[in-house]
């Protein structure tokens, strides 16, 4: 069928690439879409240089857009460096999907990117071991 639920997207949904979890991940991060509560977790194993994405996997289930977007995103970053991954923007994910999304569905598509980037970001902070950095102010999502 046309546009949104076209074959490429459905294919990624039904046969997701990089789906699963990694046992000895260097980076593991999970977030949920406030819209629906769907959760995505991403695990990353880094190469020796601590920069290359040697292995990557996502888990959690959700709508076609969020799952297909995660599958496409992970396909795109596998083998790249985490620095490359940090440069990606929502626009890039939308380009991968290739069909226009409405505002609220953009949140579904963007979730996996958010998980990926926040996970890498926290990893970098930990690596930096800078005790004078106030983690709270780096991490907007304080909670109770």
């Amino acid at each position: 069928m046309e546009d949104l639920y076209r074959d490429n997207l459905l294919d990624h949904y039904e046969n997701p690439r990089h789906h699963g979890t990694l046992e000895h991940a260097d980076i593991s991060h999970e977030e949920s879409n406030p819209l629906c509560g769907d959760t995505i977790r991403i695990d990353i194993q880094l190469g020796e240089d601590g920069r290359h994405i040697a292995a990557i996997a996502f888990s959690g289930d959700g709508c076609i857009i969020s799952q297909a977007a995660a599958s496409m995103l992970l396909e795109a970053v596998a083998g790249k460096t985490i620095d490359d991954a940090q440069k990606l923007e929502t626009q890039d994910v939308l380009a991968l999907i290739g069909v226009p999304l409405t505002t609220n569905r953009v949140k579904c598509a963007a979730l996996s990117l958010k998980v990926l980037k926040t996970g890498i970001y926290r990893h970098l902070i930990e690596q930096a071991q800078k005790p004078h950095i106030n983690r709270q102010s780096l991490d907007p999502k304080s909670d109770i």
């Binding site: 639920y5 819209l35 629906c36 289930d61 709508c63 076609i64 569905r105 579904c108």
Partner: protein, 410 residues
């Protein structure tokens, strides 16, 4: 009892003749926010176009007239929910702010470490997170009345949950997800017997059925205008007058004082004590017009109409293979809300596909994540009904679902 003439009701709602994606709109998301009749929109336009000025403090014609209309709206709303006096009605932005007002003002003044708050597992975040925050801040325990498998409250162990340590009990009168209509009587009786303060979230009750806060004998009652034909930006907290009098103010500033010096401030009487700054008075006047509209229909007739619609919807949806319906299946205890899940189709995708047919339903956790944890799903699909909903719209929904299943090869 009057019955609802839906065809003539629909003529009052300009938006219902809109097309969505080339199809006549089928609006099935009134539990999130209802559409507005022309009468409500006109009431607000009249203020802005003919007699607008800030209320309370002006002694000229526009301001006097605005103040009178604002006071009348308060009186209408008091009458609509059986409140004893207009002074017991505090205007807020929405139900959320009303519940926060109780948590901040009453909660912080009168609850002590070790006290317990009892809510239920089916609460909307608005009647959940404020108590969670208060409990954490003040060292209180937060307990939950559990659900039965049918989506009702399990009151079998109420006496173990609500004890003399319980200082506050809060619950929704109607669930925005399961549609469950909760009988407040046993919970309130038990709460009273231990001297707890009783808060009821009426967001999904006041728009849909007759409500009388005095008969119910709750201490506080909260709801939103936008779910009951009123505009956005206006909500209501009813409170017993002696409680409103004893409570400290919440927001402070203009209008809520009788005097301010450099050393001290004296508070105004309720309800103004709780309405700091320029109020949303045009919205309040709009809500007054909504109450007039609902009163003219008759709340018994509104409830009867929705009961018939939800009964029809339960029937039609149970035909659809792979459907799981959440909440009670007896329409006598179910409000106009149908929440379901389809095997193998995520609610978001269903909602997007239905939208192509002009059908608006909601998908997600409906701001009730803890309840969804109990239901064992992240997200559900919800169709919800109101005075303008017709059975042919339920037919359109069912047809749309079959079409979506075909598109997604399920």
């Amino acid at each position: 009892m009057k019955t609802l003439d839906t065809a003539s009701v629909r003529l009052d709602f300009p938006i219902l003749s809109e097309l969505v994606n080339g199809k006549p709109v089928v609006f099935l998301d009134s539990a999130a926010s209802s559409q507005k009749p022309a009468q409500v929109l006109q009431a607000m336009q009249r203020v802005y176009r003919a007699t607008y000025a800030n209320v309370h403090r002006g002694v000229y014609t526009f301001s006097e007239r605005g103040t009178e209309l604002y006071d009348q709206a308060r009186a209408k709303i008091a009458q609509f929910i059986g409140a004893p006096r207009p002074e017991t009605i505090v205007f807020t932005r929405n139900a959320t702010e009303a519940l926060n007002l109780v948590a901040y003002s009453y909660g912080r003044a009168f609850l002590r470490p070790g006290d317990e708050i009892v809510i239920t597992e089916l609460e909307h975040h608005a009647n959940f997170v404020p108590w969670m925050v208060l409990a954490k801040e003040r060292g209180l325990a937060l307990k939950f009345i559990p659900l039965t498998a049918e989506g009702m409250l399990d009151l079998s162990r109420l006496d173990e949950l609500i004890t003399p340590k319980t200082r506050l009990v809060s619950f929704a009168q109607v669930s925005n997800v399961l549609g469950t209509i909760i009988d407040p009587a046993p919970i309130i009786a038990r709460a009273r017997s231990v001297g707890a303060t009783i808060v009821v979230d009426g967001s999904q009750a006041v728009p849909h059925m007759p409500v009388n806060v005095q008969d119910m004998d709750c201490d506080f009652y909260a709801f939103s205008g936008h779910k009951m034909l009123g505009p956005t930006g206006i909500g209501v907290l009813y409170g017993k007058l002696h409680l409103l009098e004893a409570m400290p103010p919440f927001l402070t500033g203009g209008d809520m004082i009788t005097s301010v010096t450099f050393e001290r401030a004296t508070w105004n009487d309720p309800p103004l004590k709780f309405e700091a700054g320029t109020p949303s008075f045009v919205e309040a006047i709009g809500l007054g017009a909504a109450v007039d509209y609902l009163s003219a229909l008759g709340m018994d007739a509104v409830r009867a109409h929705e009961r018939a619609i939800v009964e029809y919807a339960l029937e039609r949806m149970s035909e659809v293979p792979g459907t799981r319906i959440f909440g009670p299946t007896d329409p006598a205890i179910r409000g106009g809300v149908l929440t379901f899940a389809l095997n193998g189709i995520h609610p978001h995708d269903l909602a997007t596909l239905l939208d192509r047919e002009g059908i608006a339903i909601r998908a997600g956790h409906h701001c009730a994540q803890p309840l969804h944890i109990r239901l064992g799903v992240n997200a559900t699909a919800r169709a919800s009904f109101y005075v303008y909903t017709e059975t042919r719209e339920i037919d359109a929904l069912v047809e749309g679902i079959y079409k979506a299943k075909k598109t997604l090869r399920k």
